[in-house]
């Protein structure tokens, strides 16, 4: 047995499983997004492929057959992108100082912090968002306290802010870890040099720390933005059916609405947005480093 053949035998089972259970389904989904709904499984397999589902995202047929603009889906897309962007910025703003601080700790301190930051990632997302449901709910003490101070009644749950809090809570560790890996290897004498050359702390942060942190910032931003865009649990629990995101309307098409082709269309669009953002980030980083 040659080395190459043995390698192929070892590698192919894992690759096949992923290609068959992730790659093939994605291709099939892209095909289904071109079909009509119908049949028992929600897809009319014999229908001719067309872009009708994609047209439906923006245009709606009126009763008399004219096409009118339908902003419903566009708004949900915009809200998803905006919430994902806000979460990314919040996570970076909180993650950068934490990563800087972690890099200044002793070896044991770093290990402990690393474990503390990683643990939430491995605990159940559903359960962690449920914890916020308990904290923010109407008869909870946080809500009572806020309402005591506020001159008008405030509802903490079921709005964009609650979803943003929940999303940041869910994905914040994803910015801390890549930033920490950058700062861990950072030669802090560069900062001394900047200081000796008369740079203020703010200037040193902007001209020395941030450029070096760029790969960490890009990686962290992607790691937060992408899962946020496809978030389902957080808006379902903390948005309470009022603050919908892309994930929720995709689920609806496969649930109550039983329009699988349209659900597939929404999922393809989600993937497309994700690809655009990833490419933009990669291009931006290349331009920065070039």
């Amino acid at each position: 047995m040659s080395v190459a053949f043995r390698r192929l035998c070892l590698l192919s089972p894992a690759l096949l499983v992923i290609l068959l259970l992730v790659g093939v389904p994605l291709c099939l989904m892209a095909w289904v997004s071109l079909l009509d709904k119908g049949g028992s499984a929600g897809v009319d397999w014999s229908s001719a492929p067309s872009a009708a589902n994609y047209v439906r995202l923006v245009w709606e047929e009126d009763f008399d057959g004219t096409m009118i603009l339908n902003t419903g889906y566009l708004l949900i897309f915009l809200r998803s992108v905006a919430l994902a962007a806000v979460t990314t910025v919040l996570s970076l703003a909180l993650g950068l100082p934490v990563a800087l601080w972690m890099a200044s700790l002793s070896r044991t301190g770093r290990d402990v912090m690393l474990l503390l930051i990683t643990i939430p990632f491995w605990t159940n997302l559903l359960v962690r968002n449920y914890a916020w449901l308990i904290i923010l709910r109407e008869d909870g003490w946080v809500s009572q306290f806020v309402n005591m101070l506020s001159p008008w009644p405030v509802q903490l749950l079921y709005n964009d802010a609650a979803v943003a809090i929940g999303l940041t809570y869910s994905f914040l560790p994803f910015t801390i870890l890549p930033l920490y890996t950058v700062f861990e290897k950072f030669d802090w004498r560069l900062l001394e040099a900047a200081h000796d050359l008369g740079a203020t702390r703010r200037r040193a942060l902007r001209r020395v720390v941030l450029p070096i942190a760029t790969p960490g910032i890009v990686a962290g931003a992607l790691l937060v933005f992408i899962p946020c865009l496809g978030a389902f649990v957080t808006p379902a629990l903390l948005g309470g059916g009022k603050t919908l995101m892309l994930g929720n309307i995709i689920q609806m098409q496969f649930g109550a609405s039983r329009n699988w082709p349209f659900g597939a269309t929404l999922a393809v669009v989600l993937l497309a947005i994700m690809l655009v953002v990833m490419t933009a980030m990669a291009l931006w980083r290349n331009r920065r480093t070039a």
């Binding site: 894992a14 389904p25 200044s104 997302l125 914890a131 702390r201 994930g247 699988w260 993937l271």
Partner: protein, 257 residues
């Protein structure tokens, strides 16, 4: 100047730790609340833990979760171990292979979940336990692969060369030299894959089919029906199980080579 010199980094870090852990602590504290309404604190009690233990639908859901996690994590670990051994040394296509292996980490889970649902239904595969095990295996592979790969990178090839020089054949070298050194990595990978499968909600939610639940799917529908002390208790149990397993995996990953 050290990073210590930047103002407010320590304060922000402590604030972030509070942000991450206070909600979890609140949840656990409330799971010991005797009051039915789950909002008013009366006195401490473990009643709800007793209730969830004897609730047959929770038992069934927990059993399903366990079966899926054991099967999916075992399959994923075996596949990931083989793949890690294959990608140990550089070759043409290693980058591409690793990109495929890590694909489930990058793609939004809801997209993969609905795509898998479409595939299974179009092929006439029955939804339920088997469908969930298959889908979980696929997304658990990278979680098992990464720790095994990391451990393998730290093992110098000289041990295997020595075994080879002492006339051990390939199988014997693998069994007596590589595997004992690699073992903590394999266990760490299995544990992470197990936790990932146990905690998964979205994929199971779409592939469970009628009449089948896992623990997270049960919790989701229970939350939809309203906050209750039982949910607090199951959630607390799930949190503690995950934390214990991840700490175990972290410890295994740091075992001396």
């Amino acid at each position: 100047m050290s990073p210590r010199r930047f103002p407010f980094t320590r304060e922000t870090a402590l604030l972030v730790l509070a942000y991450l852990y206070v909600p979890v602590a609140v949840l656990i504290v409330y799971s010991f609340n005797a009051n039915r309404t789950a909002t008013v604190w009366t006195h401490a009690s473990v009643d709800w833990y007793g209730r969830i233990l004897v609730n047959p639908s929770i038992q069934a859901a927990a059993w399903n979760s366990l079966v899926i996690a054991v099967c999916a994590a075992t399959a994923a670990t075996v596949l990931a171990l083989l793949a890690a051994l294959a990608t140990r040394r550089a070759f043409l296509g290693r980058g591409a292979s690793e990109a495929v292996l890590n694909m489930p980490l990058i793609l939004p889970e809801i997209v993969v979940a609905v795509a898998t649902l479409i595939l299974f239904v179009s092929l006439g595969v029955k939804l339920g336990l088997g469908a969930m095990v298959a889908a979980h295996t696929a997304f658990c592979i990278p979680f098992a692969y990464l720790p095994i790969r990391a451990r393998l990178e730290g093992i110098s090839g000289t041990y295997e060369e020595a075994a080879h020089d002492l006339y051990a054949n390939r199988v014997r070298t693998f069994r007596r030299v590589t595997m004992p050194l690699l073992w903590p990595g394999v266990m760490a990978g299995f544990t992470l894959a197990f936790v990932t499968s146990l905690d998964d909600f979205l994929t199971s939610f779409f592939l469970a089919g009628p009449g089948m639940t896992t623990l997270p799917v049960y919790i989701f529908s229970a939350i939809r029906a309203g906050i209750s002390p039982e949910i607090n208790a199951i959630s607390a149990v799930m949190l503690v199980v995950s934390v214990l397993l991840v700490s175990l995996s972290f410890f295994l990953g740091r075992l001396r080579r």
